[in-house]
């Protein structure tokens, strides 16, 4: 082979490996960096105490992260419960039943929604969802609420996640071969039966993957949630009460409270927790995907 072609081949190979290794190392570097910065906190508290305690008094040196972890989980679960069925059925309709004209209208709308800055969703949440929760939804459940609540955070977050999950689900359903659907129809299935028994079944790994990525994205979302969730350190199980998710804790306090000893480390630990939980969510969903694919 010509010398120059061999050199170009080597350089391009080296370049591709380098970029791939960089991407692989990124979460490790971030994780190690956060761990080092959070380490002073571990000298006085065990990790279990930190994540299981609800006592949050930074000025007294008490850093219980449970209200923040619970707040994050709560908001994420609510947003998933709102967004998942909407995305699933919308994606099924768009890929299996809609006319091409409707699809052509819907795609740009989804793209616009996906591209909106999260602060716009936050403002919309304050103007529409917070009053809706306060004046309408909370009274239905015989409770009072300022509207700034886990529930409001869940709704706003679900609307933010819908375009993201919907796009992935559309991609997933579009990969199911038409021949498979035709096979079910030719055996006497109705349109819905062919979707239920074949399209959805064939797409299980993709659906799980889309949901997993959606949840991971929801868990880490900050600005919009912070604007409507109330940011109050409480351990209430009432979704109409305020909450304080981990990302909001970091965004609200980083750079503000550094005069308090250990606060810096506590916020780094919060970031580390966020990283680990998102990693765990991804691993759990990967396991389900693997299991489904094997079946």
């Amino acid at each position: 082979m010509h010398f120059r072609r061999r050199i170009v081949d080597k350089i391009s190979g080296f370049w591709m490996v380098t970029t791939m290794v960089t991407i692989l190392l990124m979460p490790v570097i971030i994780g190690v960096g956060l761990y080092i910065k959070a380490q002073p906190l571990f000298e006085h508290n065990s990790v279990w105490d930190l994540i299981s305690s609800s006592d949050w008094s930074p000025s007294k040196g008490k850093f219980g992260f449970w209200p923040f972890i619970a707040g994050s989980l709560y908001v994420t679960i609510f947003s998933f419960l709102f967004a998942a069925p909407i995305c699933l059925f919308a994606a099924i309709h768009l890929t299996q039943f809609s006319s091409k004209r409707l699809v052509q209208i819907m795609y740009p709308v989804i793209d616009v929604l996906a591209g909106l800055p999260s602060v716009i969703y936050g403002v919309w949440g304050i103007l529409v969802i917070v009053p809706l929760v306060s004046n309408f939804l909370a009274p239905i459940f015989n409770t009072s609420s300022s509207g700034y609540s886990i529930f409001a955070g869940g709704i706003v977050l679900s609307v933010m996640c819908i375009p993201y999950m919907l796009n992935m689900l559309i991609e997933v359903f579009n990969t199911v071969p038409v021949g498979l659907k035709e096979a079910a129809l030719s055996l006497g299935a109705t349109q819905w039966e062919s979707v239920k028994h074949v399209v959805i079944r064939k797409s299980y790994p993709g659906i799980i993957s889309a949901f997993g990525l959606g949840i991971a994205k929801a868990f880490g979302e900050t600005i919009a949630v912070m604007m409507v969730v109330g940011n109050s350190v409480m351990s209430s199980h009432n979704p109409f009460d305020a909450g304080y998710p981990l990302p909001a804790l970091i965004a609200n306090n980083y750079g503000e409270m550094m005069s308090i000893p250990m606060y810096d480390s506590a916020l780094m630990f919060a970031a580390l927790l966020l990283l680990v939980i998102i990693l765990a969510i991804n691993l759990v969903f990967r396991y389900f995907i693997h299991k489904t694919q094997k079946q």
Partner: protein, 272 residues
């Protein structure tokens, strides 16, 4: 009810040979036209397909063979941009202008695609799927039918010990025979086969072709192919299509020895 007697059951569908006499056509197509916007895909198709024979739709890629096949079980309904006009009579039912529900029409016609599409379930459930859709829930009946149809396509001995394995674990040739068994299980009148051997190796292709020769005793087979030799091997009747039209039709010996049109002459020259 004993399993031995199950074969005599009429599953809401009379046996093929009680419907019409051997000479009468099972499919009659009158003035069938298919358009996509300004594009005229099928042009004034008039065709009669005799019962219990293999009718081969022959022609170059893109001439409208598959579209014609999909009109016969109304899979064209899936493509909203297609405009289908005319009449297709399956026995006495005009399936394009009918109040009969479409799934029932489709169950009269087993479909075998270019490549096998096993449902994403086990081997057993693939064959049982259509039976269950017909409302049959008795496990003995379903078991019996699964075994009978897998035997009919010569697959039973190969899969009887792994019926609960995913259908995708089978080889492509086995998958295609499974799809055939799955189609036969709903007791169709007609088998629509759209280039069913195009994705298969020669040995698997031969098995499928041999199955067709056996199955034509009980079923009418409409086979789409562009492979001339396959048409020669299998056809009782040949319908030659070109550019959305039926150009010539007849017995293979007459048609291939004495082509009347330039289109068929050219096709035979290229095909050979």
């Amino acid at each position: 009810m004993s399993v031995e007697n199950l074969d005599t059951i009429n599953w809401n569908m009379p046996e093929t040979d009680t419907i019409a006499s051997e000479s009468s056509p099972i499919v009659r197509i009158n003035e069938l036209n298919v358009h996509v916007k300004d594009h005229h895909i099928l042009k004034n198709i008039n065709l009669e397909i005799p019962k219990n024979q293999i009718t081969v739709l022959l022609g170059a890629s893109g001439c409208g063979k598959t579209t014609l096949l999909k009109c016969m079980n109304r899979l064209t309904d899936l493509y909203k941009e297609l405009k289908v006009t005319g009449n297709i009579f399956i026995e006495e039912d005009d399936i394009l202008n009918t109040s009969t529900n479409i799934p029932t029409i489709r169950q009269k016609m087993g479909l075998l695609s270019q490549r096998p599409y096993p449902l994403p379930v086990s081997i057993y459930k693939n064959v049982a799927y259509g039976i269950k859709l017909k409302g049959i829930r008795v496990k003995n009946l379903i078991d019996y039918s699964v075994e009978k149809n897998l035997k009919e396509v010569g697959l039973w001995d190969e899969v009887k010990n792994r019926l609960n394995s995913p259908a995708t674990s089978l080889s492509i040739g086995q998958q295609q025979r499974l799809c055939l068994a799955r189609g036969l299980a709903v007791k169709p009148r007609i088998i629509l086969a759209d280039e069913p051997t195009s994705a298969l190796d020669p040995i698997s292709s031969k098995i499928i072709e041999n199955q067709f020769k056996v199955l034509k005793k009980h079923y009418t087979i409409i086979l789409v192919t562009h492979v001339l030799r396959q048409a020669v091997r299998l056809a009782d009747n040949v319908v030659f299509m070109h550019d959305g039209r039926i150009i010539e039709q007849g017995k293979p010996d007459e048609l291939f020895k004495n082509p009347q049109t330039e289109e068929l002459k050219n096709y035979l020259v290229e095909g050979n």
